[in-house]
């Protein structure tokens, strides 16, 4: 069974079609990177998948459970609030600009939701949060506040915060786009270490070398449609005109 299934998704903003009929399935353990020029609808697709945006039309299914489907007229209807809440536990999202809670310390950012939302045992939550911090190389930052951290450290905390809820699939929305090149590396390294843990990931990124290296599958999007998808080597050696013109800018990868 597919972990995530999006069928015939359409989304427009004020008459501008941002996503034109996209279908996408992600199976368990798979790592999918979505690449493409700015404005091609990559981020909007992630925002539809994580229900930050409502689709105009199309289906959204997690592990066979329908979060949204079409009515007879082809408009999307969403499941009840309770059902959506339950389905929402399947996924986490890492934002481009982190969106950490500035008034919470690092450890509180990570532990608050598992304790307040999932009602898990406090000791257990703190223990696993400290393990996560260690994995992120931030064990000495437990009591720091976000404003005291570098962008790369903030993003690693944000990744830990998302992982603390034990999602089945983790979405990344341009996780390194707000970072300078020096800090990009440390975040990519952390994401790569998650790949080794068999976590299902969908990553929107402009880091082509990284995407080629980490992904099981690459999706190239342009102008609201999927132009091409396949194994990294296939997409990166594609002869498709649109793909070529985009990848050409990144030079011989």
């Amino acid at each position: 069974m597919n972990l995530l299934e999006m069928n015939r998704v359409k989304k427009s903003f004020g008459g501008l079609d941002v996503i034109k009929d996209i279908s996408l399935a992600v199976s368990e353990g798979e790592i999918v990177s979505i690449i493409g020029p700015s404005g091609s609808g990559k981020s909007t697709l992630l925002r539809c998948a994580t229900m930050l945006e409502t689709m105009d039309s199309g289906e959204l299914i997690y592990l066979g459970e329908k979060a949204a489907w079409n009515d007879e007229t082809g408009n999307t209807i969403y499941a009840s609030k309770q059902e959506l809440k339950k389905i929402g536990e399947n996924y986490g999202l890492v934002f481009q600009n982190f969106n950490l809670f500035p008034h919470f310390s690092v450890i509180k950012n990570i532990t608050d939701a598992p304790i307040a939302v999932q009602k898990r045992n406090k000791d257990e939550v703190y223990r696993s949060a400290r393990e996560l911090l260690q994995k992120m190389g931030l064990e000495d930052k437990e009591n720091a506040y976000p404003f005291q951290l570098s962008g790369g450290q903030c993003q690693r905390v944000a990744i830990a915060r998302a992982l603390a809820l034990n999602p089945k699939i983790l979405f990344f929305d341009e996780p390194t786009s707000a970072l300078d090149p020096e800090l990009t590396g440390e975040v990519l390294k952390v994401i790569k270490s998650l790949a080794d843990l068999q976590i299902t990931m969908v990553i929107v990124t402009h880091e082509m070398a990284f995407a080629k290296d980490i992904s099981d599958r690459i999706i190239f999007m342009a102008d609201g449609v999927i132009v091409e998808e396949g194994k990294p080597e296939e997409v990166f050696s594609s002869s498709h005109e649109r793909t070529l013109s985009f990848l050409g800018r990144y030079g011989g990868l």
Binding site: H103, Y145, L165
Partner: protein
Amino acid sequence: MSISMMVSQLAAGMLVSIQIFLVTLIFSLPFGLVIAFGRMSKNVVISSVVKFYISVMRGTPLMLQLMVVYFGPYYIFGIKVTNSYRLWAAFIGFVINYAAYFAEIYRGGIQSMPVGQYEAAQLLGYHKFQTFFRIILPQVMKRILPSVTNEVITLVKDTSLAFTISVMEMFTMAKALASSQTSMVPFMAAGLFYYIFNLLMAVVMEWIEKKLSYYEN
């Protein structure tokens, strides 16, 4: 009359002023939040009614509002009010007036919050109530603190308006003493009291600001 007698009478008035001050803050701060919600409500009827209420509260003199609250029950409804109602009228008048100002301060603070905070909270599964009280409000408090400090300091001085409905607060006392003793001293003493009161408030607000400075947005 000796100076010490004057001071003790003024001090008695000051206690009433402090009472008005505390009651106003304790009730108008939470009430203002409720009004802010009404103002931001998606329901057009609620938001328009609240908008009108705020515009009346801000657009007419507090002195006049106090008189309406005090005399209104008799002139409008024919209800005989007792003497003890004076202080209650002051409490009510101050609370509904200051709540309107606080509501607009809250609204500004809430609307200045970046949408990313709400999105992050939604993704982490917080429900609306948790999102507001755990994530949004604590940050709003810090943002609006300078404006709240302004209102607090104005309130200290505004308590003297209770004079218009003859509440025995400090300014009423000072006025009575000044005319009976034909002396400026009661006014000077009252001025000093208000000033010290506000100095104390400034210290308190600064302390709160310091308490909230453990993080930056």
